[in-house]
Symmetry: C2
Subunit: 306 residues, 2 copies
Amino acid sequence: MSVIYNRVALIGLGLIASSMFWATKRGGLAGHVTGYARSQDTRDTARRIGLCDEVCDNLIDAVKDADLIVLAVPVGAMGAVAAEIGPHLKPGATVTDVGSVKRTVIDAVAPHLPEGVHFVPAHPLAGTEHSGPESGFATLFDNRWCLLVPHESSTAESVAQLRVYWEGLGANVEEMDADHHDLVLAVTSHTPHLIAYTMVGVADDLRRVTDSEVIKYSAAGFRDFTRIAASDPTMWRDVFLNNKEATLEILGRFTEELFALQRAIRTGDGDMLHDYFTRTRSIRRGIIEAGQDTDAPDFGRSKLEK
Amino acid sequence: MSVIYNRVALIGLGLIASSMFWATKRGGLAGHVTGYARSQDTRDTARRIGLCDEVCDNLIDAVKDADLIVLAVPVGAMGAVAAEIGPHLKPGATVTDVGSVKRTVIDAVAPHLPEGVHFVPAHPLAGTEHSGPESGFATLFDNRWCLLVPHESSTAESVAQLRVYWEGLGANVEEMDADHHDLVLAVTSHTPHLIAYTMVGVADDLRRVTDSEVIKYSAAGFRDFTRIAASDPTMWRDVFLNNKEATLEILGRFTEELFALQRAIRTGDGDMLHDYFTRTRSIRRGIIEAGQDTDAPDFGRSKLEK
């Protein structure tokens, strides 16, 4: 690997940015990496664990000489950060982000960036249920997708350079239109997260009835939901507020289907249930064939066997 | 380990029964194990892979000399099997089952068992998304729960013996009342499965719109749902038809909560979302403390790293 950007600035030092730092070091992809977080605690932790070559106490110091600025803050905070850094960016620099929603981020960030700065929105499809500066690791992006959503201020060169950088971080890179991105992610990520949060909330209410049994016997399916529903609350609040239309549309389809299944249970329509469950089973095959998971029997087991 | 039952009969040779066989052999828990499956194909496969000491072509032959008879067929088929074997059971034999629902299984099976036969319903909380005679493995029950739901025909001795057998298979054993079992499982397993099936069904419809993108980008949360929704359709049809009331009650609570969150998204109530997601995050901590999962960052990764 060789240096892709001389100076990289990571704004927001959570799971994604800290993983980007370790992966950048692993690949030797940057000459110098600065970092900034709004919280003094986070900056102290970053210094203690050696996260970033230089942790800045000031947002402007972190970005002013950077060739690549990565906005890795919650989606709802992107606009304010962009407004603050806009006047201090180096001509020819590239600004990117890692937000899970693209349309509202583009609308919030782009107006604040000066001419001559290239905006290349991005979204790495990677994460764990942990958050914070100590949760990152160099292999987070290996063999994961990173979606680039070029903006009109992107030049072909700036997009190509960011692609090479993300490939250096371990990701497979694709380009996608912003609105299409937000719809696809509403299906594959945002709505499943909301449903998992809801199911865990229901169980939490019932915990007072059934004491600790919900937790004790969680391995039967519920446990997978709790892992999803343990993700960062601020990040996910912002995702739903910023991908409102697509999420509500998919939720509408979801409740429609759920009511159809509920009705089949109530009326005892076993054929409808069996047909439905047979159809959904086949989609699993597609995921394994696409290399997005293995066929190893795993349900509720691998976590304890490690 | 020593022999717990001289002769064990496994009726239905799917994931659970085949795993019970391999775990029984591992522990030396039975002198002789017979097996029966309705399908000739399944019996042929069982013979080919050495599943059971003896595969019988006739249900009665499999059970007539058995000290323990394990009903490992879908919940909806339990009653018919019990009716057929009832007159041929050895006095003093124990009948158990492995169904995911207990009340309707007890109501369907118990009337067919003669006096002097002990019925000890059971439910091992273990499984994978695979099914069939070749999907079993000896470690499936290690460190998993097995719930015993003693029936009025159970003697203390027959319950104690079955407990020792399940412990020998690797499980941790608890006793529970049938109705309470069905409610707890509706929360921890049945409703989560129905929701996962629904979400995968929605995505399957949309797949025609977004081509293969739903699968390609499934790692972002959706993939965990597909694993759950790949479970055996017949088994799950019968679960929902036989735990109708508890499942519909939990589903009612679920949609109520989901509508509250949907409304918060629509009205932009970020505080409500943030509070909700913070609360659900804490339940995860309880699961880790209860030893039902590890704290290792795992979301969407471990399957590919194996």
